[in-house]
């Protein structure tokens, strides 16, 4: 399973947005959600997803809690207050980047 290289820079934004919409999620659930939303067009590699989750947690943007499910420990992630604020700024950054990319690739005429 491979991640589209174009996604690399936006992985944290995707995670934060998903957690804003879904309150709390676990790793596998996130990969499945991305697959479902994009109709299988975007696949997240676990090798990229988990380090990103751990980094966001270390940076204080996510907090975790565990729950025992079928005799195994499941780690859930959710936004911290700081993470909640970060979503808006990350989304704005992503929107701006997409607009600039569209202009660069001539996918959309520049607004004058």
């Amino acid at each position: 399973m491979s991640t589209n290289p174009l996604l690399k820079g936006t992985l944290q934004t995707i995670i934060l947005k998903l957690l804003e919409d879904n309150a709390e999620m676990y790793g596998y659930e996130i990969t499945q959600k991305v697959k479902e939303v994009t109709g299988g067009g975007v696949m997240l590699t676990e090798g990229a997803l988990y380090p990103a989750l751990h980094k966001l947690e270390a940076d204080g943007l996510l907090e975790t809690f565990t729950q025992v499910v079928d005799n195994r420990v499941r780690k859930y992630y959710r936004l911290t207050e700081e993470g909640g604020k970060e979503v808006t700024s990350k989304l704005s950054e992503a929107e701006l980047f997409i607009e600039q990319l569209q202009a660069l690739l001539n996918l959309k005429p520049t607004v004058k």
Partner: protein, 220 residues
């Protein structure tokens, strides 16, 4: 579709082979693998459990190499957060009152008698200041650390020892290589300056421990 107890045991045994040193990463990978296998079974794939396990590990995590990388990345992220916490603790005490205290202490040290006994006393106090955060951390975090950081407790002690122990090495080295009579010729103000640094490190280390324990995640 839930896996049988035998199948889960087999997965656990296979997982143990990867020797993932962080318990939370181990649990996370295990949960991911089991969830993925369950989904495959629900989709009608009734292949052998070992085959499914290997497929998931290879396809999702990039095999042994991928898991090793994941563990290394986790270690880096955790170390970064600990360093951030340490810097916050240090900055917490780099204040004007602390500067005032340092100035007063240095001024008072000018009045101290220039004797070996005074200097030895200051050095003993430095030693106490270096050791006390480690003792404090030991008792404060006893029985709590594993719950808080899910297996990362060794990091805290390593970081505490490094952060408070490095200046102690600088204190120890001159005594190791320079004859004591030369060191004791230095005025008390030099000894006092060293002690102020250790006071700062001591306070920062204690604050670091307190902040660390406050990071307890919500549990269910």
């Amino acid at each position: 579709m839930k896996l049988s107890a035998d199948e889960l045991k087999l997965i656990n045994d296979h997982m143990a082979a990867y020797k993932i040193k962080y318990r939370d990463v181990h649990n996370e990978v295990l949960d991911h693998v089991v969830s993925a296998i369950q989904e495959k079974r629900e989709a009608g794939d009734h292949s052998n459990i070992e085959l499914l396990f290997m497929q998931i590990i290879e396809e999702h995590f990039g095999g042994t190499e991928g898991i090793e990388k994941l563990v290394a990345e986790h270690g880096k992220a955790y170390t970064r957060s600990i360093n951030k916490l340490w810097m916050q603790s240090l900055k917490h005490y780099l204040t004007l009152p602390m500067l005032g205290f340092a100035i007063v202490a240095l001024l008072l040290s000018i009045k101290l008698p220039d004797t070996n006994m005074v200097k030895t006393l200051i050095l003993v106090m430095c030693t106490v200041l270096v050791c006390s955060p480690i003792v404090y951390a030991h008792f404060l975090l006893k029985g709590r650390v594993v719950k808080v950081v899910n297996g990362n407790q060794r990091f805290l002690r390593i970081h505490l020892v490094i952060k408070t122990g490095t200046p102690a090495i600088f204190l120890y080295l001159p005594f190791r290589y320079i004859p004591h009579q030369y060191i004791y010729q230095l005025p008390p103000i030099v000894f006092m300056s060293i002690m102020i640094v250790f006071v700062l490190l001591n306070l920062a280390a204690i604050n670091f421990c307190r902040q660390f324990t406050a990071l307890t995640p919500v549990t269910r």
